[in-house]
């Protein structure tokens, strides 16, 4: 506990991985302090899953100095495995047996005693709302139930470092919030969580630090607040129902960004009361009457689009998603 590297649960320097001639991770650095939540964001195919697979000993990196739980990934993979729990992007459950049997299988592999295994399994099944389904074959579970079982199985050995690759994809809003609660609870008990997500709201809610992966590199890293400061995403959005009114307004407000399809205009603004008043005064004097006015402060969506090659206009997301 004397050097800083000991308080880092996950540490990567110059992590590289290529599949054939496709470089997926082009020398990335990561440092995740113990007991924190780290979120890795990035568009589809950015290499999030690849990073998780490498850090969880599933595939080997081409290069990089990697330590997880204080152990070197290359020379002590078993020691790393003993300190981690992994829920991959794709379900890692045994579909042929029941949910409870899956949990007991994990207990056996963690060498828990029979009674301890049964207790842990029962507790986690309860916690993940799977008691009723516990005695049914997993192949009959819904996607969300499988996901919950998957994460419950990861927690059986009480790992100190947990990798969650898109943990809430496919969960309904209630289950998602339950999951967030569970993740927070784990971290308050000192567990380190490394998660990837497509839901920027999730990273915003949970993560102490967020890294955005783009083109094989970390495009930005910091707390949600720090990242939001990177982009000028604040604006006021005016929406019209009448195309004629929209056309007239668009002609008048030349500095606004127009979206012809949505009949909306965006005026850059920081969102303060003073700025809003001046915009409203200006609209009044110009004779523009919008049907709806919303204030948009920069969020992680803006950061995401700005950093990963799109524009910072959320309304154009459909075109920027690859």
């Amino acid at each position: 506990m004397t050097t800083t590297s000991h308080s880092l649960a996950i540490e990567a320097k110059g992590l590289r991985k290529a599949y054939g001639d496709r470089t997926v991770l082009d020398g990335i650095d990561l440092a995740v302090p113990a007991g924190s939540i780290f979120a890795l964001l990035g568009p589809n195919g950015a290499g999030k899953t690849t990073a998780v697979k490498i850090l969880s000993t599933l595939v080997t990196a081409d290069a990089g100095e990697l330590r997880v739980g204080g152990h070197d990934l290359a020379s002590e993979p078993q020691a790393v495995r003993a300190s981690i729990g992994v829920t991959g992007q794709f379900s890692a459950v045994d579909g042929l047996i029941t949910g409870e049997e899956n949990m007991l299988l994990m207990a056996d592999l963690h060498h828990l005693s029979r009674s301890e295994g049964r207790r842990t399994a029962a507790e986690l099944l309860e916690r993940f709302d799977l008691v009723e389904a516990a005695s049914k074959p997993v192949s009959t579970y819904s996607g969300g139930m499988k996901r919950r079982l998957d994460i419950a199985m990861t927690l059986v050995g009480a790992p100190r470092i947990i990798f969650l690759d898109e943990p809430t994809t496919g969960l309904d809003p209630r289950s998602r919030h339950t999951m967030w609660g569970i993740i927070r609870e784990l971290v308050s008990g000192g567990v380190t969580v490394f998660l990837t997500t497509q839901y920027l709201e999730e990273a915003d809610e949970l993560a102490d630090r967020i890294a955005v992966l783009s083109n094989g590199r970390i495009a930005a890293e910091g707390s949600a607040e720090e990242l939001k400061r990177l982009v000028p995403g604040g604006h006021v959005r005016l929406r019209f129902t009448d195309p004629a009114a929209y056309q007239a307004a668009a002609a008048t407000l030349r500095e606004a960004t127009a979206d012809d399809e949505a009949l909306s205009l965006q005026i850059p603004s920081g969102g303060s009361q003073r700025e809003l008043r001046s915009i409203l005064d200006w609209l009044d004097s110009a004779g523009v009457e919008a049907d709806e006015l919303t204030v948009h402060t920069p969020d992680l969506d803006d950061v995401f689009f700005a950093l990963t090659g799109g524009t910072n206009l959320p309304d154009q997301t459909k075109e920027t998603v690859r």
């Binding site: 000993t57 080997t60 042929l96």
Partner: protein, 263 residues
């Protein structure tokens, strides 16, 4: 925990998992039993008269031919049962849970060892079932001593182990369960071109080497000798050599594929 006790503990956990699969979904194992039993009945009751005559004089009740064919059928049962191992390994490898096992601090080989031990146990069970059918249709091995029975059992287990490791290698190398089933098919077909149904000596001259120099023939001849008292000659050590060689090869092949980065 020492490496050995870790290996034993984790492998038996994996074995329990595989046996649970086999118990829950017995159709694969049962289907694989059908082929040897059907061939046994087919050869004895449909082709029996001609076959009995063919292997030398032949008695009217076909009992001699039953005695001749059963050792081969038992070996074929093993060849058929291990196809199940190839299929279940390939199925398993396409399951996400294997990725989970790989990230856990368990004995690295336990996944495969669990499959292998499970398959050997299934082979023994299948041999017992097919053997019971053989006894029911008149097979008798009254001349064999206890030692010969034990040796016969040992040979069956060793042969099961060897073919299982090869089948596991095939399962590991196959992209899908269907492909695994197909590539393991020769394991049940090889006995057809061995001395299982007719003596190799009665086959066309050019074909005899193929029948003689494949693993089934020496194993079948040894089993025949142990159960029925026919001459074994060099066959016993050739059979053991085959078993050891195939086990080593299958083991190396399987573990190398398992240790490779998953796709």
């Amino acid at each position: 925990m020492s490496t050995l006790s870790l290996a034993v503990r984790d492998s038996s956990t994996m074995l329990r998992r595989n046996l649970l699969h086999a118990r829950r979904y017995p159709s694969l194992t049962l289907n694989l039993l059908l082929t040897p039993i059907m061939l046994l009945l087919l050869f004895v009751y449909i082709f029996g008269d001609v076959m009995s005559a063919g292997i030398g004089g032949g008695s009217a009740d076909r009992s001699e031919y039953v005695a001749y064919i059963v050792p081969g059928i038992l070996m074929m049962t093993i060849g058929g049962t291990v196809i199940g191992a190839a299929v279940s390994v390939a199925t398993d490898m396409s399951e996400g849970i294997i990725a989970r096992f790989r990230t856990m601090a368990i004995h690295r080989g336990s996944v495969l060892i669990g499959h292998v031990v499970g398959s050997v146990l299934q082979c023994v069970a299948s041999v017992v079932v097919v053997g019971a059918v053989a006894v029911a249709i008149g097979f008798r091995s009254t001349g064999a001593t206890v030692l010969e029975w034990l040796a016969a059992f040992g040979l069956l287990v060793l042969f099961s182990l060897a073919l299982t490791w090869i089948a596991v290698g095939m399962g590991m190398a196959s992209p899908s369960a269907e492909a695994a089933g197909n590539s393991a098919q020769p394991l049940i077909l090889l006995p057809l071109i061995s001395s299982a149904f007719i003596p190799a000596g009665t086959m066309p001259g050019w074909f005899q080497p193929i029948a003689e120099y494949q693993p089934f023939t020496p194993a079948i001849e040894t089993l025949r000798g142990l159960l029925l008292g026919s001459a074994i000659g060099d066959n016993w050590w050739i059979a053991i050599l085959w078993c050891v060689g195939l086990t080593a090869l299958g083991y190396r092949w399987s573990t190398a594929s398992f240790n490779r980065d998953p796709k």
